[in-house]
């Protein structure tokens, strides 16, 4: 799942780089900021996705009957 997300990101990010020559008038600081903005946006999505997944997981963990893991013959 993580690999898939990263692959999608790589594809999207590569698309940004194909455009890179069009931004050649930007100085390195500005381009870095643009890239940081894009990377930050993706990281936010990944982070949100992860925390959402954690919430779903913890919901199911909570809804398990207490002591269900301790069941021993």
């Amino acid at each position: 799942m993580k690999r898939l997300k990263e692959f999608l990101f790589v594809t999207a990010f590569t698309a940004v780089f194909v455009d890179a020559p069009a931004h050649a008038y930007l100085d390195s600081g500005t381009i870095s900021l643009v890239l940081q903005g894009v990377a930050g946006a993706f990281a936010s999505v990944l982070l949100f996705g992860r925390s959402y997944l954690e919430r779903v997981k913890s919901f199911f963990r909570r809804s398990k009957p207490a002591g269900s893991n301790d069941a021993q013959p």
Binding site: P21, A24, T30, I31, L33, A39, F42, A43
Partner: protein
């Protein structure tokens, strides 16, 4: 009063040394940001959490230097030893990288940021990293984004990737290129599968592509439109990077000395005798700082601590052994810092004017030396004449212990097996004479019957 030669790049302030004390002059240029950080409580909070080296404001004018009149004068506790990232183990570099990111993430929550990301702003107390540049803490400015991104990539992420993904220790490269490994230099060395990662793309491949495109840029083109990086995006980026760095692992593989503890030529009786000898002399000297040169995984660093040494810096050239030492002293939270050293080529004084990063000899300050099972590697494996080997070892500390395995020793035999014996002067008599020429032999003994000669010296 001496100005620290490594503290000149930031006009906000400077480190000053006087009478064994460490001060920081905060100049008017940095006064506003320092004042804001202090008043907000972020500095005190970071000190409490052990992230930041403690500071105390003292009266301006206590000491003076040639710079502008300082707005504030701070005093910091003295570190046991100043080390540089090219001397660190994988785990040390990773711990420093995580500290840099954790500290930055915590600061962002309070509206502050770090103005750079240089690994030289981190030092170690034992195996615990601590941030030492208080003037890097500045209010967050969306127009600045993450100003330290390239530095982080060059000094932390790049070297860690090279180590973890390609199994290449970056220390030699890092030492030759003090600013680290540039993304555009690292990118061609990574495999496709290493590149298939958001963080590698965002912090190595992306910036490397920008760098390449910049080389094609024409001078005098229209100024760029101002850009901003929202704080939440930087936070998310740093958190993602933190999780990526935390997942990087030291590459496996057997090391030269992996099984040394089990396969060395020592039986337990001789080992006990060696421990007792070390403990007795460390106890007598009670060193503030002890150098354990050839420390392996740190058995005798541990013995020295137990015998009363306040802190130890262990040196070895085997990264696997150093990793084990780092993990051992990290688990016990002991004041031992394992560092990488090629004894035949110690860190030199280098950087700006050859003084920015000091050589090992100039940073030493050790009160005591342990050089156990080391000298035959210098004298026989590396052809260093015995008198020069003794000279260098005794120059490291005013007192210490040197072990001398003679030619009959199985470990020396092993070294001599693949080469002719061109070392007629390598003998116990010659060794004792060289030590006696340079100081007093406090005690000499043989570790068990037919065992190695071990000597405690005090320099003359």
């Amino acid at each position: 009063m001496k100005i620290d030669p490594g503290s000149f790049r930031d006009p906000s302030g400077r480190i000053l040394r006087s009478g064994g004390r460490i001060f920081r002059a905060v100049y008017p240029h940095g006064a506003k940001f320092y004042g804001a950080a202090r008043d907000s409580g972020v500095l005190a909070h970071a000190v409490e959490r052990g992230r930041l080296l403690p500071l105390e404001e003292i009266e301006v004018g206590t000491i003076t230097d040639s710079g502008p009149a300082p707005a504030y004068l701070l005093e910091h506790p003295c570190l046991d030893f100043v080390s540089y990232p090219y001397e660190w183990t994988f785990s040390a570099l990773k711990a420093a990288a995580l500290l840099q990111l954790d500290f930055h993430i915590e600061l962002l929550a309070d509206g502050f940021s770090l103005s750079d990301a240089t690994a030289y702003n981190v030092q170690f107390i034992g195996t615990r990293p601590v941030f030492i540049d208080h003037l890097s803490v500045v209010p967050y400015d969306p127009a600045a984004g993450w100003a330290g991104q390239r530095q982080f990539a060059m000094q932390y992420l790049g070297p860690l990737l090279l180590w973890s993904k390609r199994g290449i220790a970056p220390n030699g490269w890092f030492r030759g290129s003090l600013e680290g490994i540039a993304p555009e230099e690292l990118a061609p060395l990574l495999r496709w599968r290493d590149k298939l990662s958001f963080n590698v793309l965002a912090h190595i491949l992306g910036p490397a592509a920008v760098h390449r495109s910049q080389l094609k840029r024409k001078i005098g083109e229209a100024p760029p439109a101002p850009r901003q990086l929202p704080k939440a995006r930087l936070e998310a980026m740093l958190k993602s990077l933190r999780s990526f760095v935390a997942g990087l692992a030291y590459p496996g593989g057997k090391t030269v000395w992996d099984d040394y503890a089990d396969c060395n030529s020592y039986d337990s009786e001789r080992r006990i005798a060696k421990h007792a000898f070390v403990a007795r002399h460390v106890e007598a000297i009670a060193p503030r700082l002890l150098f354990d040169v050839g420390c392996n995984s740190g058995d005798f660093s541990q013995a020295a601590l137990a015998a009363g040494a306040k802190s130890v810096v262990g040196f070895d050239f085997d990264f696997g052994a150093l990793e084990r030492a780092f993990s051992r002293f990290s688990a016990s939270n002991a004041r031992v810092l394992p560092l990488w050293l090629d004894a035949t080529n110690p860190s030199p004084s280098q950087g700006w004017a050859g003084r920015e990063r000091l050589g090992l000899a100039e940073r030493s300050g050790a009160d005591m030396l342990l050089a156990l099972a080391l000298i035959h590697h210098l004298a026989i494996a590396k052809n260093v004449p015995l008198d020069m080997a003794v000279d260098w070892l005794m120059s490291l500390a005013p007192s210490g212990i040197i072990e001398f395995p003679s030619k009959g020793d199985p470990m020396v035999q092993e070294l001599l097996r693949a080469r002719p014996d061109i070392f007629p002067d390598y003998s116990e008599e010659a060794f004792l004479a060289h030590v006696a020429e340079r100081g007093a032999i406090v005690e000499q003994t043989w570790l068990g019957e037919g065992g190695r000669l071990i000597v405690a010296y005090r320099r003359g």
